[in-house]
């Protein structure tokens, strides 16, 4: 089963402010989007962009300051009890289990929060454990599970009640490559096989590219782009120019004025005494111009290459800087 035209999540002009001692902080500044049944939808952005706030509002943990959000037709502000029957959620940062009982008993307990008959719960636990490679570890106490298997158990918990919509916040954060891949495969297959909507907030661009049908890129509480990962990348035009330069300059701000340069992100390797700058350009002429400008600054270009477009470049093109620089500038 693939994504249908039925809308399962609908968000309109959603705004959320948090009171602080200094001044109200705007976490979400009037975002709108729709997610269809059976779709894997990503909310991508740097830390502090408003991703978690979005997920928290949709999973009924937070009220919006204004605007509306509906899940399977139920308003999250006025009908939270109805929403809770059709959703589940999980976060990569949560502990989510009682340490001194086994993973299996934990999962059974969580199934009881949704009123599943024990026989149904047992069958569901068996099925999810097989799909997530957890079967061998079900009888281990929760504290004895490794981070990866705990997270598999957390993901199993998020699907235990056969939810229509699953909200996930950084579901693979801190996991090794193999575990992350296996969880991503599971998420994608659950959406496609069972028509479930999976909505994930992440700052992991590779994750979005690997499993999301569509993505909304969010920055400082606003959606700055939305579409399929491919359509967003195609809109970039030319591949990015990557250069290793030495010595590392204080900044690459001099690239801002170069015609056709849409943004850049850089990192310094102090051990090798060089900086790597990734320049997002509108066309090949702009790439050549950017390389000349670097040399004009007295910097030696040690190596350079063109990099196929990824969502990282899409974000740089839209905001002018990468996630890291954006987080350093301070988000919401």
């Amino acid at each position: 089963m693939s994504a249908t035209d039925h809308v399962s999540v609908e968000v309109r002009d959603l705004r959320r402010e948090f009171k602080t001692k200094e001044a109200p902080v705007v976490a979400l500044d009037g975002i709108s989007f729709q997610v269809r049944e059976g779709e894997v939808f990503g909310v991508l952005g740097p830390n502090g962009a408003g991703k978690t706030t979005t997920i928290r509002i949709l999973s009924t943990l937070l009220l919006p300051t204004s605007g509306t959000a509906k899940v399977m037709g139920f308003d999250v502000s006025t009908e939270p009890e109805k929403v809770r029957h059709v959703i589940n959620m999980a976060s990569g940062a949560e502990k989510a289990g009682y340490d001194f009982i086994t993973a299996k008993k934990n999962l059974w307990f969580f199934s009881q929060l949704y009123g599943l008959p024990s026989a149904v719960a047992e069958a569901r636990i068996r099925e999810l454990s097989e799909l997530l490679g957890l079967t061998k570890y079900l009888d281990r106490k929760f504290y004895a599970l490794s981070t990866g298997y705990r997270q598999r158990a957390t993901i199993a918990r998020a699907f235990i009640n056969d939810p229509k919509v699953v909200f996930l916040d950084e579901p693979t954060i801190g996991l090794d490559v193999m575990t992350a891949r296996s969880i991503r495969e599971f998420l994608r297959s659950e959406a496609k096989r069972n028509g479930r909507t999976v909505m994930l907030a992440t700052h992991n661009m590779a994750e979005v590219e690997a499993i999301c049908d569509r993505v909304a890129i969010i920055d400082r509480g606003k959606i700055i782009a939305a579409g399929t990962p491919d359509s967003l990348k195609r809109a970039l035009g030319a591949p990015a120019l990557v250069m290793e330069v030495s010595p590392p300059p204080k900044s690459f701000d001099f690239l801002t004025g170069v015609a056709g340069v849409r943004g850049f992100t850089s990192a310094t390797d102090e051990e090798r005494d060089l900086s790597t700058v990734q320049v997002v350009v509108g066309d090949d002429d702009a790439a050549a111009e950017a390389a000349k400008r670097v040399q004009a600054e007295g910097l030696k270009v040690i190596a350079s290459w063109r990099k196929p477009a990824s969502l990282e470049e899409v974000f740089v093109a839209l905001v002018g800087r990468g996630f890291k620089e954006r987080e350093e500038q301070g988000g919401d």
Partner: protein, 260 residues
Amino acid sequence: MRARALVRLWSIYGEPLWVIVNMGFPILSSLAFSLLYLSIGAGSYVGFAVLGGVMVSFWSNVLWSMASQFNWDKQDGMFEIYLTSPASITAILIGMSLGGIINTVPSAAIVTAIGWALFHPVVYASWGAVVLTFFLTLAALYALGMTLSSLYLVYGREAESMNNVLQEPVSMFSGVYFPSIGAFSPFPFAVQLAASLIPLTIGMDALRRSLFFGQGFSGVSLDLFLLADLSVAFLIASMVALKALERKGRTDGTISVRIR
């Protein structure tokens, strides 16, 4: 409710050391007060100390495993899971209470057995009144625990300090080891009145009278009525507080400790 009670039982009996650790404080304090009664020639009151040890086991369980639990759950992300599920939070708290009571029974039974074996307290009981008073005291105590659990959600990590602050004063004013209300109380009337708001105070007094002085239902009827009232009042207070705190938490964004 049943599931939460089972989780509590599996947790404690999965780690038998906890059962032993839970017994430590009630046994030692019960022994200390028993020896004190004996040393001042008041051996006939030694039963008060043994009974105190039993009830302190439950009071400690209320403070450390009920009142603090939601705060710990909040820090671990478990509270979010409860809230985003359709389960009733009150049912979860009642399940937690039932599990807590069953978990504390071995500790209370061992305190009783050791106290009886060592000091042979004289019992002149009206057992029907004892049993009813005991269960109503537990109901009121655990309902208080449910209310505290709701309120502790507001205090965050300060909740643990709050427990430390509450444990000893409550033990003293509720008369766990000596009568704190009535003719033998060392406290002025105003303090006795304030102490009577703690269900343990009323429960202990009624238990002492029914267990050691043979007072039947008629003798402890007012206490039973008060305990039943307190149980219902704390249960309602807990439900109202939870609803209000959930609304406040959703408005202020304080349900989670991880706000991003």
